[in-house]
């Protein structure tokens, strides 16, 4: 049974569903040096973030089948912050099984540090979609 169909059966007649998932674009890495930000690469995934396209397709199917309708949508930046590129990369490699961080991304961070000074912090920003969907109750 489709997960969203299961959720439909568990919701009250006027219930709703909220879904959050990233938009599937490779999230950028930004280094902060002396108050300035520098983009130095992007996270990749071994499966090209396919799970997010699949999530979009599942929601579209649920709407097509008449289980839910969209009430509102928005997006926001979900930031993962580390004190250094090494720290952030170690966290991602430990917690994100499909994460691929190319060697040149770390090398670029080191180049920035040599050029502009010590990195005070590093951030990865995932553009994330949030949607509220209203249950459509079958008569």
């Amino acid at each position: 049974m489709h997960a969203l169909e299961i959720i439909h059966t568990l919701l009250a007649r006027d219930g709703c569903l909220i879904d959050l998932h990233p938009d599937g674009q490779p999230p950028p890495f930004v280094a902060w040096i002396g108050g300035q930000s520098y983009l130095f690469g992007r996270l990749q995934e071994s499966d090209d973030f396919i799970e997010y396209a699949q999530a979009d397709a599942a929601l579209a199917e649920a709407i097509r089948r008449g289980w839910f309708e969209v009430e509102r949508q928005a997006s926001f930046s979900f930031i993962t912050h580390g004190d250094s590129a090494a720290e952030l990369f170690a966290f991602l490699n430990e917690n994100w099984t499909d994460a691929v961080i190319a060697d040149e991304v770390g090398e670029r961070a080191q180049e920035l540090s040599l050029l502009y000074g010590p990195i005070s912090s590093v951030q990865m920003s995932e553009q994330t979609r949030i949607a509220r969907l209203r249950k459509i109750s079958r008569v």
Partner: protein, 104 residues
């Protein structure tokens, strides 16, 4: 190690804006992990059932559950199909809100 997730609370703000008033509401969170997002909205809801197929994360969530939320939040280490097999529709009150947090 000082990894911070959502330090600007963008996710929390977006979720609470989308969810509206949770007072009196019964919420099912699917893919709760270690409870990171659960803590952000559970104080506003009447009851939260939070599930995740990763038993290790659920164990951490239970350990980290704030005392003031213990009467309000229940964690289950299971996926959605296992949950509905154990608690089929009609076996309990229906949920007002289902939250898929990075889990669809």
């Amino acid at each position: 190690m000082t990894i911070l997730l959502d330090p600007e609370e963008n996710e929390t703000k977006a979720l609470l804006a989308c969810a509206g008033d949770l007072a009196g509401k019964r919420v099912l969170e699917i893919g709760c992990g270690d409870g990171r997002l659960t803590w952000r909205f559970a104080p506003m809801a009447a009851q939260v059932i939070a599930i995740d197929a990763d038993a290790g994360k659920i164990s951490r969530a239970r350990q980290n559950l704030p005392p003031e939320l213990r009467e309000r939040v229940t964690f289950y280490a299971c996926g959605l199909e296992q949950f509905v097999a154990r608690f089929p529709p009609g076996s309990d009150k229906p949920f007002d809100l289902a939250l898929l947090s990075w889990s669809l």
